[in-house]
């Protein structure tokens, strides 16, 4: 009913209506700081944990009226980058020693800054279940006049919102695993011809010295085309030995050990192998791919230890064995289905084989799978995505991969995948105070229990979100604690528990929910849950879900509150429109099935700042940089230009604009751009050959080039992806890709921002 009669086709401008006030302009800041509306003492830093709204309704009926998700988004390993270490404190590490990790006896909540100590410090009351717990003798300290422990400032767990505990033996079912990386590489003819094999070897070789884990790291290689090839990297050998196995029906490991080896001991052999692999298969004419048996073997190699499988694919799997018969994929993409109700069939797996492997083998044995898909044509990623999704892996998609064009992005992505901060054999549990329960998780995960995520690996680029629901009709406490506990093994082999806490006030006033709303966090949850809907039923249902949430939320505010819409809530319509136009769920036949599957997979793990950029890209006018833009501040930070409007109306024909959507950079070049500008920036006299071209911005000595390169470097520092830069010429064939990012403009299937705002205002009148 909320969206009845509200089609999204453009219908022309209507008379302006003042019900909602004026439509707010998009934010100008490149990455807006998070909304902070809680007093900071004891709260988790927003980089680790955020809420969609910083007020919890006291009753379930108010929560239902609110119509937006009340959720928590955690980004547990979002540690400070090297450039941030001066300004952002690292997470303190606490070792409780003999008294063990302090937790509530009943609900197992970890001690946090919001517990209260009683009885002269001999007991503490859990703020989740209310139980009185005894204080261990080794942990005892007396209280001051205010009832706080005298050593409060010396105890990070009592005054930091995010703290890490060293986990004792009870938290280990086996000794902490060493980091283990297994490369499973397609060496079919396509892989060689496209240059993928050469790039893999170059990137892996470059990263060998920086793999996490130091002396404990283990490494292995498996290659496959029509048969499987294993490599004996025993340190006593002078050269790596290749062992080929042609039996795909029952793939077996030719050696019981020495296929996975200690990196430090066998590094010379690993390097030698990586140097030889391209030439070894240089003349390969085998076009087949025994990917499924290769995966089975890889899992068999790692099952005793766990770790990360990096799968490199250049053709669809064509050969299977008896035990992987259902894993053969076929080219099922029918472009006639794109943009129709039946498109969702292409987003659903056609076989359960990969999902079963992910759940029954990989997840059970703490194996995570990352996939680099470099196929020339359709790769049927919808079938491969469950391998990554349920093992908390990642998918990189390079359609029609060509090393000359995509090599640098590929190397950068692979380098990051290998060297970023990573944890192993992890689980996340989220707890909330009495009256609130965790109702659903969204994104890429395997739900091992009602509130427990099983993560074979977890890294600094993954975020998770969950919805909160009322367990009781009415909450009597003044605050709700939401605690996220990540138990994991660091790459140094230490078992740790990273605990993040948010103490959110309870309110019985609906208006407070809107005042405390964080629109970006809310949209992060909504886009993830919409993607789940699209994969479960239809993409149209996903879009309806987004629209309905926005309309109902604004309707409720209109009915229940007399004041103007708060600033964050006023951003909802713009973000909703951006989500409806986004490649993940937008209508139309321009998004191919593989691209949509890959985007949906990526969005599932995105933290808030990434979904915000992805939905609402930043656009910088390069030809109108201020004097300070691209310069450096006193502390060395680059001054970023203000972001402009995402509308064709705002583009100047003589201008050059840089758009950042978090996954790629587009440089739009106007048709009347001055040739000097092009020379200063790109060292080219004209833009004739720059339509849809991937470029590396040259490092020229001109001031413009220096500043723009600084800006680019700054953008790339913050992104987990390589951010390839493409140029687009005004009026060129590639401009459609750029126009799709102009959120404020009308398209064939969606309104412009102004029209959308007015339609909403009319509906709410």
């Amino acid at each position: 009913d909320a969206v009845a009669g509200m089609s999204l086709g453009g219908k022309g401008a209507a008379a302006p209506v003042r019900v909602l006030g004026d439509a707010p302009a998009p934010p100008e800041q490149w990455i807006a700081p998070p909304v902070v509306s809680l007093p900071p003492e004891g709260q988790a830093n927003p980089r680790y944990m955020q809420c969609s709204t910083y007020a919890i309704p006291s009753s379930g009926s108010v929560a239902q009226k609110y119509a937006l998700p009340i959720s928590v988004i955690v980004h547990p390993l979002n540690d400070p980058r090297p450039d941030e270490r001066g300004t952002v404190a690292p997470v303190p590490v606490v070792n409780f020693g003999a008294c063990g990790v302090i937790r509530c006896r009943r609900c197992r909540t970890y001690i946090n800054p919001f517990v209260s100590f009683l009885d002269a410090g001999r007991r503490w009351r859990c703020n989740v279940c209310g139980l009185l717990n005894e204080v261990h003798a080794d942990y005892y300290c007396s209280l001051d006049a205010n009832g706080r422990r005298r050593d409060n400032l010396d105890r990070p767990e009592l005054n930091h919102g995010v703290v890490e505990f060293v986990a004792p033996q009870d938290y280990m079912v086996r000794p902490p695993q060493p980091p283990c990386f297994l490369f499973v590489i397609d060496v079919s003819s396509r892989s060689v011809q496209s240059g993928m094999l050469r790039e893999i070897c170059a990137a892996a070789d470059a990263a060998l010295d920086n793999l996490p884990g130091g002396e404990r790291t283990q490494i292995g290689f498996v290659t496959f085309d029509g048969s499987l090839h294993y490599y004996n990297l025993k340190s006593s050998l002078s050269e790596p030995q290749m062992l080929a196995v042609a039996d795909l029906d029952e793939p077996f490991l030719p050696l019981p050990s020495d296929l996975l080896v200690n990196l430090q001991e066998s590094k010379h052999l690993a390097r030698s192998l990586l140097a030889k692999l391209p030439s070894l298969f240089a003349n390969s004419i085998v076009g087949d791919s025994a990917m499924a048996p290769a995966l089975q073997s890889a899992c068999a190699m790692m099952q005793h230890i766990g770790g990360k499988i990096l799968l490199f694919q250049s053709v669809m799997p064509t050969l299977t064995g008896k035990s992987s018969a259902t894993a053969a994929l076929r080219a099922r993409e029918d472009t006639k289905l794109l943009g129709t109700e039946k498109e969702s069939v292409l987003l659903m797996p056609s076989t359960d084989w990969f999902k079963t492997l992910a759940l029954e083998v990989c997840s059970k044995n703490q194996i995570s799978v990352d996939i680099f898909s470099c196929c020339e044509h359709y790769a049927d990623l919808a079938n491969l995505v469950p391998l990554c999704r349920y093992t908390n892996g990642q998918l990189w998609h390079y359609p029609n991969f060509d090393a000359a064009r995509d090599g640098d992005s590929f190397r950068a992505d692979l380098g990051r995948a290998l060297t970023r901060q990573i944890g192993f054999e992890a689980v996340i549990r989220i707890r909330a105070s009495s009256g609130i329960r965790i109702s659903a998780f969204h994104g890429n995960h395997y739900l091992r229990g009602a509130d427990l995520l099983a993560l074979p690996t977890v890294d600094c680029d993954k975020a998770f979100c969950c919805d909160l629901a009322h367990e009781e009709q009415s909450i009597t406490s003044s605050h709700i604690l939401i605690q996220c506990a990540l138990l994991y093994t660091t790459s140094d082999g230490e078992r740790r528990i990273r605990v993040s806490n948010l103490n959110v006030p309870v309110t019985n006033n609906l208006a407070d929910l809107y005042t405390a709303l964080d629109a970006r966090a809310t949209m992060n949850v909504l886009i993830k849950s919409s993607i789940e809907q699209a994969q479960l039923t239809k993409i149209t249902d996903a879009r309806s879900r987004l629209q309905t949430a926005c309309v109902n939320a604004l309707k409720t505010y209109r009915i229940m509150c007399a004041t103007p819409l708060p600033e964050q809530a006023a951003l909802l319509p713009l973000l909703t429109l951006a989500a409806l136009k986004n490649a993940a769920v937008r209508d139309g036949a321009d998004v191919r099935a593989d691209e949509r599957s890959a985007i949906m997979m990526q969005v599932g793990s995105m933290p808030i700042f990434m979904t915000t950029s992805f939905l609402m890209p930043s656009i910088f006018a390069i030809h109108r940089l201020l004097e300070t833009d691209g310069g450096t501040e006193v502390d060395g930070a680059v001054v970023m230009p203000a972001s402009g409007r995402l509308s064709a109306e705002a583009l100047e024909a003589h201008g050059v604009y840089l758009v950042d959507n978090g996954l790629c950079l587009l440089m739009w070049i106007g048709k009347n751009v001055h040739h000097q500008l092009l020379l200063d920036l790109l060292n080219l006299p004209s833009a004739d050959r720059l339509d849809g071209a991937k470029v590396n911005l040259p490092q020229l000595q001109t001031e413009l080039s220096i500043r723009v390169n600084r800006i680019l470097r700054r953008i790339r520092e913050l992104r987990p992806t390589s951010l390839p830069l493409y140029t687009v010429r005004q009026g060129g064939a590639a401009e459609a890709r750029f126009s799709a990012l102009l959120v404020e403009d009308r398209t064939l299937t969606t309104m412009s921002y102004g029209e959308w705002w007015q339609t909403l205002a009319r509906q709410l009148q």
């Binding site: 759940l359 997840s363 349920y390 659903a440 395997y446 229990g449």
Partner: protein, 141 residues
């Protein structure tokens, strides 16, 4: 007469077997809820049980149909209707390929309610059939 007795006894014990399978499902579900079993193993166990259950229901349905056709009574008709609904529902699940339990969805929003509902319906079916078959068996004996 002998045939009627045989079929009556077979139906009765067949129904006990259905009750036993349902009891197994209930036990497995409670193990899952108490965290004694993980979702993957739970899904495997449930997916192993379904074909047995379907086969057993098919046999019972056939026997009951034969019973109804050869010796019509209101009791047989009632049992036939109950069986056809329950068996038909399971066949629909099978033909639509919706019978498999997805381990990734076990702790999702709706699985628990769906599972409880199906177990209650199953117990209602098997329970009512038990008493009707018992009565039928006593009657023919």
């Amino acid at each position: 007469m002998g045939l009627e007795i045989t079929i009556g006894v077979l139906l009765f014990f067949g129904n006990i077997a259905v009750l036993a399978l349902l009891g197994y499902k209930v036990v497995k579900f409670s193990e899952l809820e108490e965290d004694y079993q993980n979702p993957t193993d739970f899904a495997k166990d449930m997916n192993k049980v379904f074909p047995f259950e379907l086969g057993l229901l098919g046999v019972l349905f056939s026997l009951q149909t034969f019973n109804t056709l050869t010796g019509f009574s209101w009791l047989h008709l009632a049992l036939f209707v109950i069986h056809s609904c329950y068996f038909g529902y399971h066949m629909k699940l099978y033909t639509d390929n919706k019978w498999k339990v997805d381990p990734a969805a076990v702790w999702g929003n709706h699985f628990k309610d769906k599972m409880k509902k199906s177990m209650f319906i199953g117990l209602a079916f098997a329970g009512s059939c038990f008493f009707l078959y018992l009565y039928n068996m006593i009657r023919v004996l």
